[in-house]
Symmetry: C2
Amino acid sequence: MNEPMDMEAVLERLKEKGLRLTPQRVEVITLLYQLSHPTAEQVYSLMSKKFPYVSQTTVYSTLKMLKDLGIVNELTYGDRSSHFELTQEEHAHFNCKSCGEIYDVDVKDARQLQHLLHTEQGYQVDFVRLEFYGTCPACAAGGEAGTDSVRTAH
Amino acid sequence: MNEPMDMEAVLERLKEKGLRLTPQRVEVITLLYQLSHPTAEQVYSLMSKKFPYVSQTTVYSTLKMLKDLGIVNELTYGDRSSHFELTQEEHAHFNCKSCGEIYDVDVKDARQLQHLLHTEQGYQVDFVRLEFYGTCPACAAGGEAGTDSVRTAH
DNA sequence: TTACATGCAAATGGTTTGCAACGCA
DNA sequence: TGCGTTGCAAACCATTTGCATGTAA
């Protein structure tokens, strides 16, 4: 499993960008290293123990800043709130419908992963979600024909 | 590419369940066949042309019913609203960051897909999201130890 | 005549924004 | 002194809910 960049490198990255390493920001980052895919609310709740006067605004803005820098990744599911994780390459998530935990799993061989997850690790896979993000051929061709209009398919 | 079940089969499925084939429901289903991964708002907006007095409530409840029956799949992204599609097996999505379109793509060979998407179809893949849903080994072992508490990881 | 559906309006709740106060560079 | 940062409160907005009305079997 790939590891996220270490915390010192993250703090260094912020300094490079001229961003201040406030106690609140350091604590949000620390919690991201300690927790498994927390929601903003979970980060806020735990921060409140050490910083009673911290605001949700600060937690949200810090998470947004880290996301914009590519340091954290936001995971959205069907439920209301997003989950956050430190960016790592080459991994997938296994979401347990029973306990709700989000597990990081290796994805060296994506094709066989679903099968191997079951036979070797005991995960029962009901559903796989695979999303690609990037630029489509039409847009890459310079068409810049982007529209928000609804298009038919099928 | 796998196709979704045809519309007559969907309507038959509702009848089997004792659900009424109201004009509103038939129109929502029809639009799901005509549109590419629409949001609830897009469905509502287009329905309003044919049914001026349709309510958002009906659109949302119909989409939820279809989702509960496994007929439609809900896709959540970082932006606010969910997108809906008729359920199909063995396919992935390519989300164009330039035009915003969501493309269905084949995923016969998930391992090589990212590479093939680029070399054979011209898609530039920046990011792949792969999510598994199911039951983890601990829960499958009958522990039913599910909690909503935050757990540490890494 | 009863259970299911619809639609209006209000509530919900995660997230964002406006703005004044704060504090490091 | 200036600008980035914080935090309170209000706004935002997709979605859900309460409830009265409508409708089909």
